[in-house]
Symmetry: none
Subunit: 207 residues, 4 copies
DNA sequence: GATGAATGAGGATTCATTCAT
DNA sequence: AATGAATGAATCCTCATTCAT
C-alpha cells in the first residue's frame, strides 16, 4: 500500500502536500538502500503517484531529491545542538538520543552519505555536519580536558561515531545483544552508556 | 586503465589468477560505491575481462561475488584478533590500525554492509563480525571493569564504532581536521587517540 | 520493415493504438516461433517502437504480453461457437474454417501453448479452450450418438484435433499433398473432408 | 539430480555411452520446451557433464543435436508401421498407441517440429514423416473406400492428427476429462475410440 | 573424452528522464 | 499538478560456441 493512502487513512487532517510526501518516502528508501539502491519509480509509487513523471514536477532530478532529503533531515539535528550552546554534555546527548530514536532513518542517511564517493553528495553532508562538529568543538574547548589540542578533532569525531553509530548500524549490533537494539530498554542502556562514555572520555582525570 | 594491465606492468611476478583479480577490483568498487552502485560490467572491465560473461564463470552472480569479497576481507581481521587472545588491548588496537590503514577498503565494506537492509548481505557481515565481537567480549570480561554486565555489549559495540568508524568515514572527518585524515601523521594521532580512549573506557577508575 | 510503417503506408486510416499494434506483431511472432523463440526486442522493433522499453509501458513483461495475445485470439473463436448454440455441426465447422483460414496464426498459437510445459501458459490456454469444449460437448450430447458416455470427451478432443490440426500444422501436410495446403482449393477440400469426417464420426449408424 | 547419476543408481548395468545419455536428456528437454526453450547448458547439466564443452565433442552444435534426437525418435515409429505392411488398421493402431504411450516424448517432439518455422528442422521431420504417410496411403488405397482420390491425403493427415494429437497435447485434454489422460484407463479409452473412429472414417458405408 | 576458461552477442527488464497533454 | 507515452542507456545475466589443456 502506498504511503499516500496509508496516511490518508490514519489521520483525518488534510494530507501532506505531495512534495513533503515524496520527501518522506524518499527519506525512508534512501536510508534503507542508499542513493543507488532506490529507483525513482519506487519512490513515486510509494508516494502514491501514478507516474514517475509527476515527481519531476517537484524535484529537478533524483539527485536534487536526495539533497533535499538530507538537507531537511539535518536541520532539526543542528537545531537540537544549537539550542544547547552552553549546556553540559549530558542533557545534549539525551536530547540527541531522543531525536535520533524518534527519527531512526536520519543516522543511516548521514552514515551512507559519509560513505559515498560522490563529491556532491558528500559535500552536502559535510557542510551540514560542520556546524555540528563546531558545537562539539566549542564544548570540548570550554571544558578543560587533559587531551592535547591536536587530539580534539579525533575526540569530537569519535563522540560523533559513538552517538550516531549506534542508531545507524544497530543491525550489526543485533546479533550480540540479548535484547532488540531498538527496544526502549536497549535505548535506555545505550543512553546510559553514552553518558558514562562521554564522562570518561571528556572528564578531567584525577590529579 | 584496467587493473589487470596495471598489475602486469608494475611487478614482473606471474599475474593473479583471474578469480582473485576480480575479487580485488570488486572489493575496491564495492567499498567505494556499495553493492547497488557498482555494475558487473564495471568490475569485469576493471579486471581486464573482455566480457562480463567471463565473470560469471567464477561467481554465480553479483551477490555471490559480493559475499566472496566480504568473506575474504573479514578473514584477516578475525585472524588479527584471534592471534591476540590474551594480550592487553593496546597492541591489539595497534595491529588493527595497522591492518585497517593498509587495507582501507575493508572498513567501508563492513560499514556499508551493516547499513544494507538486504537480509542476506547483512547476515554475511553479521556472521563474520560475531567472532570479532566475541573476542572483544572475552577481553572485556577478563579485565575487571567497573561497567555493569549489561553494559558490556554496548561498550564492545562502541569500541568497534570508534576503531572502524574512523577508517570507514574519514571523508566526513576531512572538513574538521587540519591534516588529511589518511596521512601517516593523522593515522598516528588516531592511533594515540584510540589507545587513550580505550584506556579511559575500559580502565579501572580510581578507587 | 516494421509493421508500423507498413500499416501507415497501406491504409490512410488512423494508425492502431500502440498496444494493439504490439499485440498484432507479437501474435505473428509467437505463432511462428513460440514463446521462447521470440525476443521482446524483435517484437518491439516490428511494432515500430524505437526501444524495447516502450513495450513495457503496455505489458508488464513478456509473459503478460503472451497471455494477452492468446486471450485476444481465443475470444472470436469462442464467440463463433457460442453463436451457434443449437445449430447442426455442418455450418459451425464451416464458420470455424472460415475464421481459421482468415486468422491462420491462431491455431498455431493454441497448438504451441498446448505443448508448453510451463504451467502458467498452459493454464491460460486451457481456460480459454474449456468453453469451446463445453460447446462441443453440448452439441454432441444433444445428438443421439451411438458413442458411450465416457467416449464423448475423446470424441470432442478428436474433433478439435481434426479441425485445428490442419491449420496448425499444414507444413507437415505439405509434402504429401499435390496442392499447397493453404490454397483456396486445398481449403475447400479440407472443408469437405471435415464435414464428411464429422458426419461419419458423429452420425447415427445404420440400424 | 542429473540423469547420469540417476541412471547409474537404478541399474547395475554399464552406463549408457555419454552420447546416448545426451540424446536421452535432450529428447526430454526438447519435447518439453522446444528447440528455443532449451539451453545447451541445461542439457549438458542433465547429462551429468560438468561442462557444456563436453557436449560439443559429440554433436557439432545445438541444431545437430536436435536433428539427431528427432532422427533417433522417428526410427522406431517408422519401423512399427513398416512391419505391418499388409495388416488391417486395427492392430497397427494398437501397436502405435503402445509405442506412443511408452515413449510419450516422441509425439510432442514431432508436433513441435511441425510447428517450427525453421526450414531445416521442419525438413527433417517432414522427411521422417513421409514414409509414415506413405504407409498410410498404401493402406487406405488397398481398402476400397468411398472417399474420392483427392480426399485421401486429407484423410491420412486427419488420422495422423487423431493418433498423435492425443499424446502430444494431452495437457489440453486434461481439463475436460474426468480421469488423467495418461492413466492406463484413459489410454484404453483412447485406444478404443481411435479404433472406432478409424473404422468409421475408413470403413465402407452401407451399400 | 572431458573440462576450465573465455567471449561476443543477445536475453529480459529497469534506469532516469522528457514531452505533450 | 499530474499523467500516459516514449526513449536511450544501462541493468544483470544467459546464450551458443571455441580453445587450450
Amino acid at each position: 500500500m502506498s504511503v499516500a493512502s496509508e496516511q490518508a487513512g490514519t489521520n483525518g487532517e488534510q494530507p501532506l502536500p505531495t512534495k513533503d510526501l515524496i520527501l518522506d518516502v524518499a527519506e525512508k528508501r534512501f536510508a534503507e538502500h542508499g542513493f543507488a539502491g532506490v529507483s525513482v519509480r519506487q519512490i513515486a509509487a510509494d508516494a502514491g503517484l501514478k507516474n514517475q513523471a509527476s515527481l519531476y514536477h517537484h524535484f529537478r532530478n533524483k539527485q536534487a531529491l536526495y539533497e533535499a532529503v538530507i538537507q531537511r533531515g539535518m536541520e532539526p539535528i543542528i537545531e537540537v545542538i544549537a539550542r544547547s550552546k552552553t549546556e553540559p554534555a549530558g542533557p545534549v546527548i539525551d536530547r540527541l538520543i531522543d531525536h535520533l530514536s524518534e527519527k531512526p532513518l536520519l543516522p543511516r542517511l548521514i552514515w551512507r552519505a559519509g560513505l559515498d564517493e560522490s563529491e556532491d553528495l558528500r559535500r552536502i553532508v559535510a557542510s551540514a555536519l560542520t556546524p555540528l562538529f563546531q558545537l562539539g568543538f566549542d564544548a570540548l574547548s570550554r571544558s578543560e580536558l587533559d587531551w592535547e589540542e591536536e587530539d580534539l578533532p579525533h575526540l569530537a569525531f569519535g563522540l560523533f561515531q559513538l552517538i550516531f553509530g549506534y542508531f545507524a548500524q544497530f543491525s550489526l549490533f543485533e546479533p550480540i545483544t540479548p535484547i532488540p537494539p531498538r527496544s526502549p530498554e536497549a535505548l535506555e542502556r545505550q543512553r546510559r552508556f553514552l553518558k558514562r562514555a562521554n564522562a570518561r572520555l571528556t572528564g578531567r582525570r584525577r590529579s
